[in-house]
């Protein structure tokens, strides 16, 4: 009996010792179902590791992250975005991730590059699937107004013409063509037009540091986007409605909505909405669009007590075929999307998802080459605040851009190269 008890105790202790529990934190509620499926599949494939899912809303995610990092108690695997990555990396809060050449090859080079530090030998984040800026259309509204459904080679002029036809009033309701208020060219949606129209980047590196580059392409793009609101009046302003553009789109009162692939989960809440992806418009038919995409990553905080298991989990989510399949089946793009195209298209059947794969071939990551500018957030805030004066009708656009040029220039003079 004594032996049996001892054996049972030893077995229990052994099991307890072999079991590792990881904490995994994300801010993205749109993929909660997929994340839970990923965790279940990972736990089945790795019986010694349990993963605890933590959904932290975006607004508190970074507050919590900074308090936890300062306090030395963190989640084991965390979502990271490129705007916040420099701060955490430069504070030494992240664990370097060992990746040999073969493992690096499993990641898209463009998405991995911003998370490589120094000479590129050290990796501090494993990129998740691309979250691409894209164009949604309300097909029912297009059909009702006799507007042709966009096909490959859709141009800006065609989009503008469609937006004009989609702006009308009926039954006491106002319908709008496009969400121009969200298309300030410093934000990723407006900036996607800037890159597509030939922009090279709004900050350039010189021999003496960095300078603003709000050149002709930027000004022309800003003017085109601004005219959607103030010249053509095909976009609602805050005076027209307090509803956010995605709400108007869900209510069926917005024809064209420029946002990101992550909204597909939101559209599922309104089953009657006849939405589809549309090609990102270019200036001339046949030109490749260059909309932006976000490359969030999984990072392992230095304070994690389960680094080895955390690494296993982060690698599994970002590179395993099983994880790729689960994500694509849930209408999400895995880290390497191409092998899972069919599954993704099947999950979003009839929504013209092919255009996302087409545009990803020429897409860009915003400011991926500027992550070492020490005061980049302040510079971008200044640009945002100045352009917002124009977007809210408080300053002529050309004056707002001149002001932004001056403000950004002054801040960039003070910037330093961020050392990791």
């Amino acid at each position: 009996m004594k032996k049996l008890v001892t054996l049972l105790l030893a077995a229990t202790l052994g099991l307890a010792a072999a079991q590792t529990t990881l904490t995994y934190a994300t801010w993205d509620a749109t993929r909660e179902k997929a994340d839970r499926k990923l965790i279940a599949a990972f736990e089945a494939a790795n019986p010694g590791i349990k993963v605890k899912y933590n959904l932290v809303p975006w607004d508190t995610y970074w507050q919590k992250a900074s308090a936890m990092v300062a306090g030395g108690v963190t989640f084991d695997v965390m979502w990271m975005d490129l705007d916040n990555f420099p701060f955490y990396a430069s504070q030494g809060a992240l664990e370097p991730i060992p990746l040999d050449a073969a493992e690096k090859a499993k990641y898209p080079a463009q998405s991995l590059a911003p998370y490589l530090i120094g000479d590129g030998s050290q990796t501090y984040g494993l990129p998740l699937g691309p979250q691409a800026v894209c164009v949604f259309i309300n097909r029912a509204l297009f059909k009702e107004r006799g507007v042709p459904i966009p096909t490959t080679g859709w141009t800006w002029d065609q989009m503008l013409s469609a937006a004009q036809k989609l702006t009308f009033s009926k039954g006491g309701k106002r319908y709008w063509g496009i969400n121009g208020s969200d298309l300030q060219p410093d934000l990723e949606y407006g900036m996607s037009f800037y890159y597509t129209f030939g922009g090279k980047g709004i900050i350039q590196k010189t021999a003496n540091g960095y300078t603003p580059n709000l050149e002709a392409t930027f000004r022309q793009t800003a003017q085109r986007l601004y005219d959607l609101i103030y010249k053509y009046k095909v976009s609602p302003t805050a005076n027209d409605t307090p509803q956010a553009a995605y709400q108007l789109f869900q209510a069926g009162q917005l024809g064209i909505y420029v946002e990101g692939t992550w909204m597909t989960g939101v559209w599922a809440e309104t089953p009657g909405l006849d939405w589809a992806f549309a090609p990102f418009p270019t200036l001339k038919a046949g030109e490749p669009p260059r909309p932006l995409y976000s490359a969030h990553a999984l990072v392992i905080p230095k304070a994690s007590k389960q680094k080895s298991a955390a690494l296993t989990f982060a690698r599994w989510i970002t590179t395993s075929p099983q994880a790729g399949k689960i994500l694509a089946e849930n209408g999400l793009l895995p880290t390497q999307p191409d092998p899972y195209e069919k599954l993704f298209l099947n999950a979003l059947k009839g929504r013209n998802g092919e255009v996302i794969f087409q545009q990803l071939k020429t897409s860009e990551i915003r400011f991926s080459n500027l992550r070492t500018v020490s005061n980049l957030p302040e510079v971008l805030n200044a640009l945002n605040a100045d352009l917002n004066l124009a977007w809210t009708g408080n300053l002529p656009l050309d004056k707002a851009i001149d002001k932004a040029n001056t403000d950004m220039g002054a801040l960039l003079k003070e910037s330093k190269e961020l050392k990791y």
Partner: protein, 275 residues
């Protein structure tokens, strides 16, 4: 009895009625939106009543977050904290109001200081302390730092000071202690103030967001305000589901108010100060 209103009274009733409606309207809006579909809720111009009444948002609420567990967590932790604020705050306030002791002014001012220092300043030090105790992701982290409240001490101190000393002096002359005077004279006479402080503390903790969001991680320990925010993602909020959660979340505050309402409205009568 003449029931006719004078013109001035009529205007006053109309103005007050309008004011009352303005206060009630957002609550009605919340409740009606909880029964709308998203496209109905987001339509512009808006309508107060749903086109089609649906109860699915409440079902979805319970599917998306462990609402019942979060509701219970918020309820009992808020009640415990509010009760301890009274239990620990009342003797301190009474001592400040009635006793003389060395450093009294320093101690009292330190309580006042805790009210004026912004919470952002104490956030990380408190987190470090909680972490040192090993309380991260536990209810102790949520409750212990809030057990005492400078605000409760200050409010009760103000009220105790306004009580006539003669009532307590009679207890002391009969051989009673300051503790007896507090328990049998000061506290019963201050039931309105105690109820108000308890209620305010309960409401403050019921809606507390930042601290729980930092010290708690596990969904099974999470409180309602943080849980409700999890209904929104970075770019969009499902407003009808959020309104369903909010409509349920205000219920305890209404019930708590109904319980202490009598004490609040009778505060002046029960203070022993009536003419």
């Amino acid at each position: 009895m003449n029931r006719r209103l004078s013109p001035i009274q009529g205007v006053l009733v109309a103005v007050l009625g309008l004011g009352g409606l303005l206060i009630v309207l957002p609550f009605l809006w919340m409740v009606f939106t909880a029964f709308k579909t998203p496209d109905d809720a987001y339509a512009w111009p808006p309508t107060l009543l749903p086109k089609v009444w649906i109860a699915g948002n409440f079902k979805k609420l319970f599917e998306l977050i462990p609402f019942g567990q979060m509701f219970w967590n918020s309820l009992w932790t808020s009640a415990v904290i509010a009760s301890f604020n009274i239990l620990l705050g009342a003797p301190a306030a009474y001592a400040f109001a009635r006793l003389r002791f060395p450093g009294k002014s320093l101690w009292f001012n330190s309580h006042l200081l805790s009210m004026v220092v912004p919470w952002q300043i104490t956030l990380i030090p408190t987190f470090l302390l909680v972490r040192w105790f090993g309380w991260v992701d536990s209810f102790a982290a949520l409750i212990v730092p809030s057990l005492t409240s400078g605000y409760a001490v200050f409010m009760l101190y103000q009220f105790f000071r306004s009580l006539p000393r003669s009532l307590e002096e009679s207890v002391l002359m009969d051989g009673g202690s300051w503790g007896t005077a507090l328990r049998y004279i000061a506290l019963p006479l201050s039931s309105g103030a105690v109820a108000a402080v308890w209620m305010l503390s309960f409401l403050g903790n019921w809606s507390s967001f930042v601290w729980p969001s930092i010290v708690l991680n596990s969904p099974e320990k999470m409180v309602l305000p943080v849980g409700l925010l999890a209904l929104q993602n970075h770019f969009a909020i499902n407003v009808p589901v959020l309104m369903a959660g909010s409509a349920l979340a205000v219920l305890p505050t209404i019930v708590a108010y109904l319980f202490v309402q009598r004490y609040l409205t009778d505060a002046a009568l029960s203070s022993g100060m009536k003419g």
